[in-house]
Amino acid sequence: MTSEQDIWSWLSDIPDPEIPVISLVDLGVVRGVEWASDHWVITLTPTYTGCPATTVINLSVDTALRDKGLENFVIKQQIAPPWTTDWISTAAHEKLRQYGIAPPSAAGGPTACPRCASDDLERISQYGSTPCKAQWRCRACLEPFDYFKCI
């Protein structure tokens, strides 16, 4: 018999389609795994409303659970309460940094360059390669980098 723990563990192996170093569980988009009398309900929440990764995430979850032999489940979308960058796990912050993306920070901007750790930074644009990121540049090493912006 599959346990809730098993499902959470399988989900934590599914990479985010855009940022593969963190998992869907790290990202905080898995809002619940519940047994509803005769089937599992997996509740997901989108990051940004228009993020194309949302569709891919649903598909990845569906495929991964079927690969584990799970059949009696449904994937439910939930938008309230709205996803926030506060739900990204602490462990994921470090993984993002190592991948070259400055993690979200309450200050509203990155605290240090993910490459050289300098705090001499400038914002290029509040928008970046995906809806969730902004473009910044380090004035010390001159490298541009992505910042995971807070919402």
């Binding site: 940004y48 409303t49 309230a80 309460p81 644009s125 509040q126």
Partner: protein, 251 residues
Amino acid sequence: MTTELFEYLLRLGDNSLVLGHRLSEWCGKSPILEEDIAISNTALDFIGQTQLWLGLAATVEGQGRSADDLAMLRDVWDFRNLLLVEQPNGNFGETIMRQYLFDAWHVLLLDGLTRSHHQEISAIAQKVVKEVRYHIERSRDLVIRLGDGTPVSHEKMQIALDRLWPYVGEMFDVDPVEHTLIEQGLIPDTSTLRAAFDAEVLKTFATATLTLPSSNFAHLGGKSGKRHSEHLGHLLTQMQWLQRAYPGATW
């Protein structure tokens, strides 16, 4: 009440859809790469918001139509967006001015909708308002930089403001559809948001060295669907081209 609610949800969805489409027309053609990325990301946010609003509209209508059906299979006379959002992009400054005027109203409206007694409306508004706060941060910043920029950019922004200001009044015009929903506590009364809107834009235009037009004349007829401008039809021929050429096509 269902009829009014459906109408109103079309207004919200059509605003996002038409403005999102307009912004997507800039994709690959913006003045600089960062702005191209920003404008396309904003377009994407609007298309995402459209899916939520038109999805809810379709559910409320209960006729088995989907958000896609509403977006792609209606013609001009069934659209309920504001006249402002269907205005052509013009130059980059005009696009930014249109965006700023819309954003300044949109943030206030969504904030009011978060307190709607309708659970789904409130949920969508709570989600969307977070994205829209980033929209206004950028459009306000650009209005200031271009308005208070070179003589050429200043002149273009003043022309844009003069041209688009007559489309502001429609955002605050409360008609019977909205009256019904306001009474039910489902939506905020937009006429009460006007003071906050004026405070926002007056401050920005002062910093941007732009002069507010003296007349508050307002073109009406977009959100009621009675009189769209000629531009919407042209927009739809592009946006709905695939469904018109190949009805029912999917992939």
